[in-house]
């Protein structure tokens, strides 16, 4: 018999939540360690086929709390500002849950509070708490369309924070500050390259999309200090970028 690891109530292998305490029930993929719903037959991250769930396969993940415009991640109690943009609800901050293959710029943990963490794509794919997901290409497209519909200038400018760091001069010329017109508040947190080098703090923001281009590469959105462009690009999955989460609809 399967039981909830939190309250001990009996659960079925097709249950999403525990009927005894309401906690969300998960299992961990033995191959890639992604958290999957208990009822999953395959891992949606790596395709591994799951055997029938046994007691030691079940994990409970505390649900995030959403209150007064903030989301509190039940796993580490970190608090994030939420923002409604069009029909979407985004986190208005970079995610900072400390997971495997996530980094802080220059390995300086003090950076996490302001800038969040940088995640490899594989790590970014599975880091969201229940009820939230890593932004997809479709999410970013919808965000871009909504910003354009407001007619307040270039989308990248509207998404960039008003932070002075965007004004840093660089190779391409003077920096242009953001208007933060929709509350997205993108920060120029740079990247950890696939070679492990931290670069471009103050110059560029990179946000992973949940969609892969091929086996080795995935899509991301890119904001630059010198332009208001809102570009979609692709990169090696080993690069570590910022993560923005969108609330499931």
């Amino acid at each position: 018999m399967l039981v909830c690891p939190k309250c001990g109530a009996a659960i079925g292998e097709n249950d999403v939540y525990c009927a005894g305490c309401g906690t969300m029930l998960h299992r961990v993929c033995s191959h890639c360690h992604a958290l999957m719903p208990l009822m999953a037959k395959f891992c949606s991250n790596c395709g591994t086929k799951f055997e029938e769930a046994k007691e030691n396969h079940v994990f409970s993940i505390p649900l995030p709390i959403e209150k007064n415009g903030f989301m509190i991640d039940g796993r580490d109690q970190q608090k994030y500002k939420m923002v409604k943009i069009g029909n979407q609800i985004w986190l208005a901050e970079n995610f900072r849950f400390k997971s495997t293959d996530s980094f802080v710029y220059g390995n300086n943990e003090d950076m996490a509070e302001k800038y969040g963490r940088l995640y490899t794509w594989d790590s970014a794919r599975i880091v969201a708490p229940p009820g939230w997901h890593l932004a997809t290409r479709r999410d970013f497209n919808e965000l871009g369309r909504f910003c354009k519909s407001l007619g307040q200038g270039m989308v990248g400018t509207m998404l960039k924070s008003k932070d002075a760091e965007w004004k840093t001069n660089g190779i391409f010329g003077p920096g242009t500050p953001g208007s933060d017109a929709v509350g997205f508040a993108a920060m120029p947190y740079g990247v950890r390259t696939s070679a492990g080098v931290f670069s471009y703090l103050g110059s560029f923001a990179y946000f992973w999309c949940a969609d892969e281009e091929n086996m080795g590469r995935a899509y991301y959105r890119h904001l630059s200090y010198f332009t208001g462009a809102y570009q979609e690009c692709s990169s090696k999955k080993e690069c570590a970028f910022s993560v923005r989460l969108v609330k499931n609809q």
Binding site: I171, F172, T193, A195, S199, F204, S235, C239
Partner: protein, 99 residues
């Protein structure tokens, strides 16, 4: 960093070897600008460039602008995966002619 020049008909090839950072970028700039003054078709072979920093990127951008202003062309060839990643992350893939 070492740079070797080869002439091939109308084009001039610079074969660069080593890393291009703030230490080596001044020499890289001198060689690039001098070579750009000699040809309308500059080929820069990056096969043996292991790393390029912002200082090196600045030189490439300057050379690219000078070549374009003189109705010339600058092409980078044999760019390694690591260096290509730098070009991608900085948006240089949209600016440079990379074969």
């Amino acid at each position: 960093m070492t740079i070797t020049q080869f002439e091939n008909g109308d084009s001039l090839t610079l074969a660069v070897e080593g890393i291009i950072d703030s230490t080596t970028a001044p020499d890289f700039e001198k060689e690039m600008l001098a070579a750009g003054g000699k040809t309308k078709n500059l080929v820069v072979n990056f096969a043996k460039v292991d790393f390029i920093s912002s200082a090196g990127l600045r030189v490439l951008l300057l050379s690219q602008k000078k070549m374009a202003a003189a109705a010339g062309k600058m092409t980078l060839v044999n760019v390694s995966e690591d260096v290509r990643e730098v070009f991608e992350l900085t948006g240089f893939v949209n600016v440079l002619d990379i074969a």
